[in-house]
């Protein structure tokens, strides 16, 4: 058994499963800041009850996110000991900062938000959900600092056989941090918007407190449209330019550019082949990629042929996950734009087809997040730290392959159970619906 492959599978499994939950939590928490804010400031019972309803869904999502997140903090040491020794001087700091500045904040205030409704004033209660949202966003920032450093390392020198920190701020704000954070944070907002929109649409279709559900649907649709548009431009666009400049091999693999060329086209479809290196059945929009990168259709774009073969990332996964993510992103803009238009014409609540489409689209942003993660991580291979340390040299040398296999089986079983229970409990809570507004209390 190949210990490196197993360790990679283990990491993909544990982080992939964990990464289902944070984008939902972050996006949902910010929407709850809006709902609870309206409920508090306008003393509006509809938003208060919808806040409670979505708050329960946040609690389940958050619990699984936290439980599976502990694994993340430990497994660099358990599975990637050589990596930990090599980067510990730099990589550990953002993880510790995440704990100190973010985890304490979100977990502490989540308890206050969920259980303190009757114990604190309405203002403090709103402040609690605000702190949960802020805490989870700060958490995203620090973990993306750590990841960005793997992609575009900065602020260090190689000394004593490891990367040692020379400039903290340079390491934190390395060339890809800010744009990666904005891109990923916005992805979480989109995920939250589709989550709220889909579930609100479901309540309307099933005629469960549909007047109330329409309130949250409206906000989610407008929120979702803005977030989806921003994801295309500027965030997605700028992130692509950054990758092209700092990790050209990854960029070429994602976009499907195998030969350095002028007037490079934007590949819409293709099937990558590694040997011989070519993109089969290619469909492209001529000159567009060059234009998007450099504002000039005739500009030259570097192809994979510029890089030694042993530094090529796996082509199929990188290309496919990247292109599917982009396609999904375009779909998000489309459906949110259509919904907004119907909303403007006051027809959204009657349009069963679009409501159903919104419902079925609920998990799609989660899938897009997973694909984006795969595109950026697989696209960095064979490196674990771009240009400095290869993945095969980063695993724990003292851990036998059987141990890793054991943990893969263990976590697969545990996560299968958790995933099943998550869907079951979520649908149970959703079907129970929000608390109705009693006529005596109605505003």
């Amino acid at each position: 058994m190949d210990a490196v492959l197993l360790a990679r599978l283990q990491f993909a499994l544990t982080i992939g499963f964990h990464f289902i939950f944070p984008p939902i939590s972050i996006g949902l928490a910010w929407l709850l800041v809006i709902f609870e804010g309206l409920g508090w400031k306008k003393n509006n019972i509809i938003y208060q009850n919808m806040g409670k309803f979505f708050g329960k869904l946040l609690a389940i999502t958050f619990a699984i996110g936290v439980a599976t997140g502990i694994v993340m903090e430990f497994q660099f040491g358990t599975n990637w000991a050589e990596y930990s020794k090599f980067v510990g001087d730099i990589f550990g700091a953002p993880l510790a900062a995440e704990g100190i500045f973010a985890f304490f904040l979100e977990s502490g205030f989540l308890g206050l938000y969920l259980f303190g409704r009757d114990r604190v004033s309405k203002g403090v209660h709103w402040f609690a959900i605000f702190m949960v949202a802020a805490g989870s966003t700060i958490s995203a920032f620090w973990i993306l600092v750590a990841n960005s450093w793997q992609q575009t390392p900065a602020g260090f020198i190689l000394r004593n056989g490891r990367a040692e920190l020379t400039d903290f701020w340079e390491a934190v704000f390395n060339p890809s941090t800010i744009i990666r954070f904005l891109h990923t944070f916005d992805a979480a907002l989109i995920t939250g918007a589709f989550f709220v929109a889909g579930i609100s649409a479901y309540l309307i279709i099933k005629d469960k407190q549909k007047e109330m559900a329409f309130h949250t649907l409206k906000i989610a649709v407008i929120f979702g449209l803005i977030a989806s548009l921003l994801e295309l431009f500027p965030f997605g666009h700028e992130h692509a330019i950054q990758v092209a400049n700092t990790q050209p091999a990854k960029f070429a693999a994602q976009e499907g550019i195998y030969e350095t060329q002028k007037e490079a086209g934007l590949v819409v479809f293709g099937i990558p082949s590694e040997d011989p290196l070519e993109l089969k059945y290619e469909v492209k929009l001529p000159g567009l990629l060059s234009y998007m990168l450099y504002g000039d259709v005739s500009a030259e774009v570097k192809g994979l042929n510029e890089f030694p073969k042993d530094e090529h990332p796996p082509l199929f996964i990188t290309f496919l996950s990247f292109h599917t993510m982009v396609a999904l992103g375009s779909y998000f803009i489309f459906i949110m734009a259509v919904s907004s238009l119907l909303l403007y014409k006051k027809k959204l609540h009657k349009n069963k087809f679009i409501l159903k489409l919104l419902l079925w689209s609920t998990p799609l942003p989660v899938i897009a997040c997973q694909l984006g993660w795969a595109a950026t991580e697989v696209g960095r291979q064979p490196w674990i730290v771009q240009g400095m340390l290869k993945t095969k040299d980063a695993v724990s040398v003292t851990v036998p392959a059987e141990y890793i296999l054991f943990s893969i089986i263990l976590f697969s079983v545990v996560y299968l159970i958790l995933g099943g229970l998550y869907v079951y409990l979520l649908s149970k809570k959703i079907n129970a619906g929000p608390e109705p507004v009693h006529t005596t209390e109605a505003v």
Binding site: K52, A59, A63, I64, V66, A67, T68, G69, I70, V71, E73, F74, F76, G77, T78, N79, A81, E82, S84, K85, G88, D89, I90, G92, A93, L95, A96, A97, G99, I100, F101, F103, F104, S107, G108, F109, L110, G111, L112, L114, F115, G116, D118, R119, V120, E164, L165, F168, S396, T398, V399, Y403, F406, S407, L410, F411, V414, L418, L425, K428
Partner: protein, 338 residues
Amino acid sequence: MDLNFIWFILLMFLIIGYAILDGFDLGVGILHFFSKSDDERRININAIAPVWDGNEVWLITAGGALFAAFPIVYATVFSGFYIAFMLLLTALIFRAVSMEFRGKVDSPRWRKIWDFGFASGSLLSALLFGVTAGNILRGIPINSELMFEGNFIGLLNPYSLLTGLIAVVLFSLHGGIFLMQKTEGVHKENIAGKLNGLWIIFVILFFVLLLYTIFEARYLFDNVLRNPLFYFFSALLLLSVIYIPVGIKSGKFKAAFIASSLIILSMISSMSVSLFPSFIPSSISKEFNLTIYNASSSQTTLQTMLIIALIGMPLVILYTIFIYKVFKGKVIITKDSY
């Protein structure tokens, strides 16, 4: 005082913080096995529901800080204790989600499953926490490359199983005292009936451990017999242990809770004083000990991390105190409860 030393202290602070805070909610989980009715079990869970998550963050942050300040310890110990840590993670996952899931479906069988998940997850976590401490005390096989040479079975030696058992008993006592402040009536009497027994078992096991340590890890006493800190923590430990039955008998549960917290603090502190300047002693040769110097990050990182900790931790402590104050007093079951 150099930065390595400061970080040693700060890490101990995080580990002690974790052991005291998650210690009581793990203890509540273990006592959950002995609860007599569904109401009691519901109150147990709601007693810790608003705070357990924040308590566990102490462990996560300790992990992150260890990675940042002493990456060699992080890498060597975590990969060396691979299977043990995978089991610990599974136990922590199950106890976390059990609390969340238990009240979500109205069926006795459903609740029974998650009651078991919560209690056994807590028990296993406490046990593994103690087993890890025991292995560190007696030293683990670290070779000249600063790599772990042992295996999982080797970690389950009698000495470490004893420390594991002590952790289970101590956390149960600590959690029980916490519950005395949170419960009323029959439930409270049921817990009160167990505290004296737990205290006696703890005292006996502790003396066994002391004798065992003289045979198993005598070197621990080499450095400390002339160190006043060791006597200070020993005295603190002794006084706290003696106070517990007094406090319980006179109904001063808050004071008794402080005493059980101080037991945890003084045990881990005297352990650190004995190990210092080593973090993890090597059972192969003293030269291969992982110390606060050969296993640390660069001075630049330690300094940066210190600034982060000095900005962040006071804030954490402030709002943690605020949140505990909000949830002070007996558990009140409302429709928002689990």
